[in-house]
Amino acid sequence: MEISCSRTSNESAIEIDASHMDTRELNGLLRELMLAGYERVVLRNVCGQRYIGTRLYSPERRVMNIEIHGTPGNDLGAFLFGHRIIVHGNAQDGVGNTMESGEIVIAGRAGDVTGMSMRGGRIFVKGDVGYRAALHMKEHGQKRPVIVVGGTAQDFLGEYMAGGIVILLGLYGAHNASFIGSGMHGGAMYLRGPVREEQVGSHVHISRADETDMEILRDHISGFIERFPDLALDLEHILDSEWTKLSPRSSRPYGKLYA
């Protein structure tokens, strides 16, 4: 395989030009780099390659920092196993699909089904997310996935959500999504600003965030502010807003559907 890469002064870091690599080559290369002990990879000219960061499981739990310049393709960080991915731009559909652990930071917008079936780790999106974010997100024991979005989401946010935490900061405008939490049966969503009854699914309970909730919000929103310093956000100001909490009315909404 012909690859164009240059070692930086740091021995464990490497820069890759991805312009002529297809999905399989790029992910194969990332795996080789991880096994060779690289800890930081900078990918330049990424354009549509899918599944970046997948297939990076190692029994000894090696962790890489993958920095992406360009526009990664669908299912970025699918099954991500403890690595950290930073995108300097927008991401497409399926960010963090079934991700296991680690962190994905998108310094732009993310597309549909962001965090679909996610079961651990955190996703931070500076802009908005598309349809069906957090679709069937889940949690188990200590593993509780988190999605923090600077803007808002389109329809079907948290559809069939089974666990985890979703936070929408609403920094750029009101939440206009419909069908929020359709079929939700676990986890919690926190939206800064008001949400109308008709915007949420029939399985969703709307309440004001309480003190325990505010601790959760403080933790993850400070993480968001840290990752996007250019937004110059004030943590206390953000927390001192109207926070709506959406939680499931039942853990088995369809228990009697086929009975």
Partner: protein, 382 residues
């Protein structure tokens, strides 16, 4: 290692790709960048269909309808289809020029049909003299496609043309030499992953009637109802693919019923009743009437489409956006695509990028409308 990779199954199961690029200033450009954008979404299709629609490509014949025909079957069937179709065309039209559609023999494509184009104007006789030119052309196109074996008119607008076939879109684009022979101000394209019907040259996208063309990702599960309704208005579905009904529905609603695109979108992808119930009285009355009158034209199932007409391009998805659509602008350029990366490939910097809500049409038009401009400014020398 590379040997082992070649043995791995290299296809990921995916979906169609759609793409559109338009200069709102009417600047014409070759298909080269469109082909590159489509090639970047290669993996969405499976090589069983690719196609392009290009607007502003025949300025020297801009007053004439440009018919693109394919004649299928073996060599003898093709010759017979061409003879029968020409006999009909020459009887009903004044054909000012005809030629084989140029293609490159350097590009391998499977079972290409005989492809021919005709520039013509109506030559009406008898009762037909009362018909408008467009209506006359539509009736003749439907007749050829339904009644003449192995002959299909797959493009019938003025100063525009469809190019399509079985292959990956980048192969089809190079086969027709779209990167060298044509310059248009508006291009749409499609890479196909057929789900419910066989792959054949006529079944590739775009589908068109007059200058309306459609490229589509998804499936129309209401096809049977839509088709039955359209047949009452004289349309005949002959291409064995669901997308065809969208092109005819747009022709019926926009040309014959004279409805604007905003209303057409509400017919094809109407709001659900719960939403209509919450609208103000005036809007509720309108939407209720549309759903009642045009219920059989509701397009059910997942879809994202790009509809193009002379001077405008429209992006639309189903009501709950079960297929992706991203819109972007850069200066005078307007893009609609299945994936943002394909746009970034040909225009790394963008002024804005967004994904419209389900059922919300995105309409891009030439600056200052398109009637006069098209005729006199855009259609300059090739």
């Amino acid at each position: 290692m590379s040997v082992r990779r070649q043995k791995l199954y290299s296809k990921e199961i995916c979906a169609c790709s759609i793409f559109g690029a338009m200069s709102r200033a009417g600047e014409r450009f070759t298909g080269e960048r469109v082909i590159r954008a489509m090639a970047s979404m290669h993996h969405r299709g499976n090589g069983l269909g690719g196609g392009f629609a290009a607007y502003g490509i025949y300025p020297e014949f801009r007053e004439y309808y440009a018919f693109h025909l394919m004649f299928t079957g073996d060599a003898m069937a093709q010759r017979e289809a061409k003879r029968a179709a020409e006999e009909y065309l020459f009887r009903n039209f004044d054909v000012v020029h005809d030629e084989e559609i140029p293609h490159s023999d350097d590009v391998y494509v499977r079972d290409p049909p005989l492809l021919w184009r005709y520039f013509l104007s109506p030559s009406k006789h008898g009762e037909d003299v009362h018909l408008s030119d467009d209506e006359y052309v539509v009736r003749k196109v439907i007749h050829v496609n339904a009644a003449i074996d192995n002959a299909y008119i797959f493009s019938s607008g003025k100063n525009m043309g469809c190019f399509k076939g079985v292959g990956y879109p980048e192969e089809i684009g190079r086969y027709f030499m779209l990167d060298r022979l044509y310059r248009g101000y508006l291009w749409t394209a499609h890479g196909r992953f057929p789900t419910n019907s066989q792959a054949w040259w006529g079944g590739a996208h775009p589908f068109g009637l007059l200058d309306t063309t459609v490229v589509h990702n998804g499936e129309i599960s209401s096809y049977g109802t839509n088709r039955w309704y359209l047949e009452m208005f004289g349309y005949r579905c002959t291409l064995h693919t669901d997308t065809e009904v969208i092109a005819y529905a747009v022709d019926l609603l926009m040309r014959r019923h004279d409805l604007p695109m905003e209303i057409v979108a509400r017919i094809l992808a109407p709001p659900i009743w719960d939403f209509i119930d919450r609208m103000d009285a005036r809007e509720r009355r309108l939407l209720t009437a549309l759903r009642r009158v045009y219920a059989p034209l509701l397009m059910n199932g997942p879809f994202a489409v790009i509809i193009a007409q002379s001077g405008r391009m429209i992006g639309l998805t189903d009501r709950i956006r079960l297929r992706p659509l991203t819109v972007a602008t850069r200066g005078d350029m307007f893009y609609i695509s299945s994936e943002e990366a394909s746009v970034r490939l040909i225009s790394p910097s963008l002024d804005s990028v967004w994904s419209p809500d389900g059922g919300e049409p995105v309409v891009c038009e030439l600056y200052g409308g398109f009637g006069g401009r098209l005729e006199h400014e855009i259609a300059g020398p090739a």
